[in-house]
Amino acid sequence: MTQRITKRLLQLILIIWSVGMLSFILTKSLPGDMAYRIAASRYGYDQTDTAAATMVRAELGLDQPWWQSYLNWLIDLVQFDLGRSLVSGELVWVEVTHQFAHTLNLALIALLISLIIGPPIGLWLAHRPHGIADRTSLAVSIIVRSLPVFIIGIVLIGVFSVKLKWLPAAGYGTWQHFVLPALTLAVALSVVSVRVSRQAMQQVMASPYYQYAKLKGLTPWQTLRRHGLRNVAITIIAFHSVQLIYLIEGVVIVESLFAWPGSGHALVHAIIARDIPIIQGTTLVMGALFVLLNLLVDVACATIDPRIDDHHKDTAHV
């Protein structure tokens, strides 16, 4: 286990360096003059002209060679200094924490909602395979998952804000503002989670050890608790860890739709503006979080099923 944690932490350092370098190279290789892009994001459409771009170029030293800019970033990074945004002039650290707090809270609540909805329904459906509920759930899953997250958001706003007037349609600041964006992300996640949980439970139920547990006279609940839940949990946790990428992908759209001041929205704007320090700062924090979450999933799986760790030990000895 210690080996696993050490490995992941080393991975974290590698991720920080490689994500920063990749975002630097990719942003630098995008077409368009950086000075104009930064001026456009700073001063807006009516005031962006060559004079503004020239002023930006001189202020930010955009004429210096790429390797010099990269080295400056690397030296600053070693000193835990992410620099300042080229657009707002604010410290990257301040901007990223402000935005990331909003994104993280939203993503975690969405994940929590999908965990509350998905697995329980999936397990319930596994006990009633091929019934009306099961078939309906399959159809709903296919339809909802094939809808862009943007459409789901619009539908939810239409129902809960425009028709029922229960919740604010956009904005942030109160718990009510969380509900619709989190639900938008959670709905698409849950529908797949239902199917994955249902399938996993079906496989477990069909396994000899589960059948034997029933034969030996355990009640259905005892069988599920002692022989079902742990086995099915591995698949469900693994699925949700893979789906984290969907959350980040969905957050970009959801944040724009709901005027949510998070990292996804900021990242899109930073790419348009060629705001390299913000791109590096945001991707770095996202990359680090991914490693941490994957570590959590690894440890959780190894705790639930000790055979995973034993297998690793065996292969390590070989």
Partner: protein, 525 residues
């Protein structure tokens, strides 16, 4: 139990991360004051424009519209100058020196009384950043006494006072700036004071009790930037406390049928037009430019894209600038184009068609044009494709390139631009003379002419800046408008229509054609 220790440790680490990120975000949350509270009478103003920073050079237009900060001069819906922080002004030395008398008893939101020194400091700092004031040829700004500010210019400018109405010329309290001259807080003199500014989306503001003008009756206002037009429209329908700006045509059709909503529309000082590189064939031929303009079905585009009968642009400056209007020029007709007749005219000029129906240049090459535009204003790409279809009827192939708006000034400078479609704001400075002098300068301009200039036009613009009679000024304006309509260095298509929606309960809703003011202090429930 021991086997759970690593899991608990990693889980604890994640919880710690979430708590720490939230605490750090809260610690850095930009608050200016702390006594804001939202009540049932509060209003939420929604527009697509995001906040970049506290600096007026980047976000002044929002602080101006929200009535947080003000300029020395204001303007009405026809572009006529009005006193604001300056109660009167006059020019000396033929318009080379200008003196502005400040309004008595104006207070900043921090209680400081406005003096001439504050104006000098704010404007000197504004001049170190991109601002329209750069075009005003200011040599020196000085305080003559506590209430009088003097501007010395490099050359006479009758239009000078209008420059001081620009949103980058906001007057802020000395406490707004740090030692290096950076704006760290927005402490203005407006009807509302900022409580918190949270880029990119939110401003909280409360009514300022010591405001010198009409005091606001809605105590608390939130500004929310939302770039999605669909969400903005849904926000208007969701709760009664929204005032929503920049509605798109498809949403507008739905909102006008909502019995709870009032929808207001105004033609603003912004013209959708295209510019061409007048050095490169076929745009070096004035007659070609004129026929191309005649091939645009402006009414059709207005109906389908803007969803309105209004807005057909037959000349560069919008109708609100009445003195500049001429009778509908033949180069930009209102009706449906007669394509066969236009094609005949092109043939007579030496542009023939090949067997595939493509129009050939005078050197017998198929004419193929790249039209650059951008999607920040969502109607522009649609208008670009409408132009593409309409020009195709003459056999002209147009490739539409949708990119970032900064590509237009960038490609103007490197000379690669052929044609660009955009919406030009002629009301940033209430006197359009400023924009025209910039756009049609002898060297061209990023948002104006490219490789085209008219000595006669420049001379008339210069004359307009001299001390002349109103009758002479009107005549010159008409002559300038005629030159632009004949020569078409830029070709007008539509005048921008601004739409807003609010609940019927909100009284006093009106639109500013110059996009300077949301008139929030005139609103009431």
């Amino acid at each position: 139990m021991r086997k759970f220790i690593p899991l608990l440790l990693v889980f604890g680490l994640l919880i710690a991360l979430v708590v720490w990120v939230n605490l750090a975000a809260k610690q850095h949350a930009p608050k200016q004051h702390t006594h804001a509270h939202q009540d049932d009478n509060s209003l939420i103003v929604v527009s697509p424009w995001e906040i970049t920073s506290t600096d007026p050079s980047t976000t002044g237009f929002i602080y101006q519209r929200l009535q947080i900060a003000e300029t020395l001069i204001d303007a009405d819906n026809q572009g006529r100058l009005l006193p604001s922080l300056a109660s009167s002004w006059h020019g000396l030395d033929g318009g080379k020196v200008w003196q502005f008398r400040l309004r008595q008893g104006v207070k900043f939101h921090d209680g400081t009384v406005l003096t001439a020194e504050h104006v000098v400091k704010s404007l000197n700092i504004a001049l170190t950043k991109p601002t329209a004031l750069e075009q005003a040829h200011i040599k020196q700004i000085s305080a003559i006494d506590d209430q009088t500010v003097q501007f010395e210019l490099a050359k006479p400018m009758q239009a000078f006072p209008a420059y001081l109405a620009h949103s980058t010329a906001l007057i802020l309290s000395p406490a707004s700036f740090d030692d290096s001259g950076q704006v760290v807080k927005v402490i203005g003199t407006g009807a509302y004071q900022a409580v918190s500014i949270e880029p990119p989306q939110k401003v909280e503001q409360v009514a300022f009790a010591d405001y010198w003008g009409k005091k606001a009756s809605i105590e608390h206002i939130t500004y929310l930037a939302n770039t999605r037009s669909e969400t903005r429209a849904l926000l208007a329908q969701s709760q009664p406390n929204y005032l929503v700006y920049n509605l798109d045509a498809p949403s507008l059709a739905r909102l006008t049928t909502d019995p709870n909503l009032q929808v207001a529309t105004e033609s603003i000082a912004r013209t959708i037009l295209y510019k061409v590189n007048a050095k490169r064939p076929p745009f070096d031929d004035v007659a070609f430019r004129q026929i191309l303009s005649q091939a645009i079905d402006r009414q059709g585009i207005a109906n389908t894209v803007l969803g309105t009968d209004q807005g057909v642009a037959t000349q560069v400056l919008p109708p609100l600038f009445g003195d500049w209007q001429i009778t509908t020029p033949t180069t930009a007709p209102m009706g449906t184009p007669d394509y066969p007749s236009l094609l005949t005219k092109l043939n007579q000029l030496g542009y023939q068609q090949n067997a595939q129906g493509q129009l050939l240049s005078k050197s017998s090459e198929p004419i193929r044009i790249t039209l650059k535009t951008f999607s920040d204003r969502p109607e522009l790409p649609i208008i670009a494709t409408a132009l593409q279809a309409q020009f195709a009827k003459l056999g002209i192939q147009v490739d539409v390139a949708v990119g970032n708006f900064s590509d237009i000034p960038a490609s103007h400078q490197d000379g690669t631009l052929q044609m660009a479609l955009y919406a030009r704001n002629y009301g940033m400075i209430p006197n359009p003379l400023g924009a025209l002098m910039e756009d049609f300068d002898a060297d061209g301009s990023d948002w104006g002419a490219m490789n085209w200039h008219s000595p006669a036009l420049l001379q008339k613009l210069e004359q307009l800046n001299q001390d002349i009679s109103p009758a002479q000024a009107t005549m010159l304006k008409q002559e300038i408008a005629t030159i632009l309509a004949d020569e078409l260095p830029v070709t007008p298509i539509l005048y921008y229509q601004q739409h807003i929606a609010a609940n019927h309960a909100l009284q006093g809703v009106r639109l500013d054609a110059l996009e300077r003011n949301f008139y929030l202090n005139q609103l009431a429930w």
